[in-house]
């Protein structure tokens, strides 16, 4: 049985805790990577992942499988990310000097430990606009159909195909420039 079917079966039987365990083990990566792409901060993404699953748990009783679990989780994650970004914007970027120093130290430690591929991947994703980046990940990494992505992002299938093509084209141009040494 697929995890989605397992979860729906357990929910039908009233076994919410068991359903939640399968949900978390199967979709934690998906939720966390989506949160990182939106928030661009690992710690914030970790907190948000926790928040997403709490929200999912509290509304699990109302989930009746009308949409795919992944689509439902993506919607929760995206909404919470946008809210978090909105809050950050409203608060402004007022950071005390001490905090800045600590953050800077933490970031440099993390960058040292970060693999080459991780750095490269983040670079590549950073050159793409939000819709193209999301389409690229959801199609290429998560292997979702255009219909599923369309439901998640609210974009037409034709628009998604164009986004995917443009994302790959931009990445191709970026790689060529890197090869030629125009970008370090």
């Amino acid at each position: 049985m697929k995890p989605e079917q397992d979860i729906l079966y357990l929910l039908e039987k009233g076994k919410t805790h068991e359903a939640m365990s399968i949900l978390m083990s199967n979709y934690k990566r998906f939720v966390h990577s989506t949160a990182i792409r939106y928030l661009k901060d690992d710690d914030d993404a970790k907190d948000l992942t926790q928040e997403v699953f709490i929200k999912a748990y509290n509304s699990l009783d109302y989930f009746r499988g009308d949409s795919k679990i992944q689509t439902w989780l993506y919607a929760i994650t995206r909404n919470l990310c946008l809210n978090a970004l909105d809050k950050k914007k409203r608060k402004g970027n007022v950071i005390h000097l001490e905090t800045l120093e600590v953050l800077s130290d933490e970031r440099s430690d993390r960058l040292v430990n970060e693999s080459e591929f991780s750095k490269f991947f983040k670079e590549c994703m950073s050159i793409l606009p939000e819709k193209q980046r999301e389409t690229f990940i959801l199609r290429h990494v998560e292997e979702l159909t255009y219909e599923e992505i369309s439901e998640m992002l609210g974009t037409s299938i034709g628009g998604l195909k164009a986004n995917y093509f443009q994302a790959v084209q931009k990445l191709s141009q970026y790689l060529s420039s890197k090869k030629e040494g125009n970008i370090q």
């Binding site: 966390h32 591929f117 991780s118 990940i137 990494v141 195909k161 790959v168 191709s172």
Partner: protein
């Protein structure tokens, strides 16, 4: 969108092997005749070569490893009751209500004197050994009553002493029969 653009948009899915057979045919036909398209195809192959799906998933899995999600499992009231238990309880309750209703109705009728008394008579031949007889069937009742009336009439004609209990029962019966006829 012209034909060339349409085929370009199919290239990422063609490279990842997620295209329908009909579209694969179109792309391969176009690739064979267009150097420009062939070049784009090669560039895109390079992109997917450096941004492999497995590597990205591995990276995401490494990142999510440190994410620990703990849910504040709420103590839900256990409202779960097997369907069989619900069915049995309902049936028992319905039977009890029915039984109570019937009992109440009977006792109320008895109080009001609505219950038709079953006639209790004695046979003339065995008048000394008085045995009440409850009549179960109208046919039997009719036969016995005819017999009793015949004996009663013959006793009166022969000037025998009539048992007062028998006399009372017969009088009541005749009165009852007269009332029924009047009603009719």
């Amino acid at each position: 969108m012209n034909n060339h653009e349409y085929i370009e948009h199919l290239l990422p899915d063609y490279i990842n092997g997620t295209l329908s057979e009909a579209d694969i045919y179109i792309v391969e036909k176009a690739l064979a005749s267009s150097k420009d398209l062939q070049q784009k195809h090669d560039e895109f192959v390079q992109v997917f070569g450096v941004l492999k799906q497995d590597d990205i998933i591995q990276l995401m899995n490494d990142e999510v490893e440190s994410v620990d999600v703990t849910l504040p499992f709420k103590a839900k009231r256990n409202m779960f009751m097997p369907k069989i238990m619900i069915g049995t309880t309902t049936s028992i309750a319905a039977c009890l209500l029915l039984w109570i209703g019937i009992n109440n109705q009977i006792s109320s009728n008895v109080q009001n004197g609505d219950v038709k008394k079953i006639p209790t008579i004695e046979l003339a031949e065995t008048i000394d050994e008085f045995t009440p007889l409850e009549l179960q069937s109208e046919d039997v009742e009719e036969v016995i009553l005819d017999e009793i009336l015949t004996l009663y009439v013959s006793d009166i004609e022969s000037g025998k002493e009539i048992n007062p209990v028998l006399e009372k029962e017969i009088t009541n019966y005749l009165l009852q029969e007269n009332t029924d006829e009047e009603v009719l």
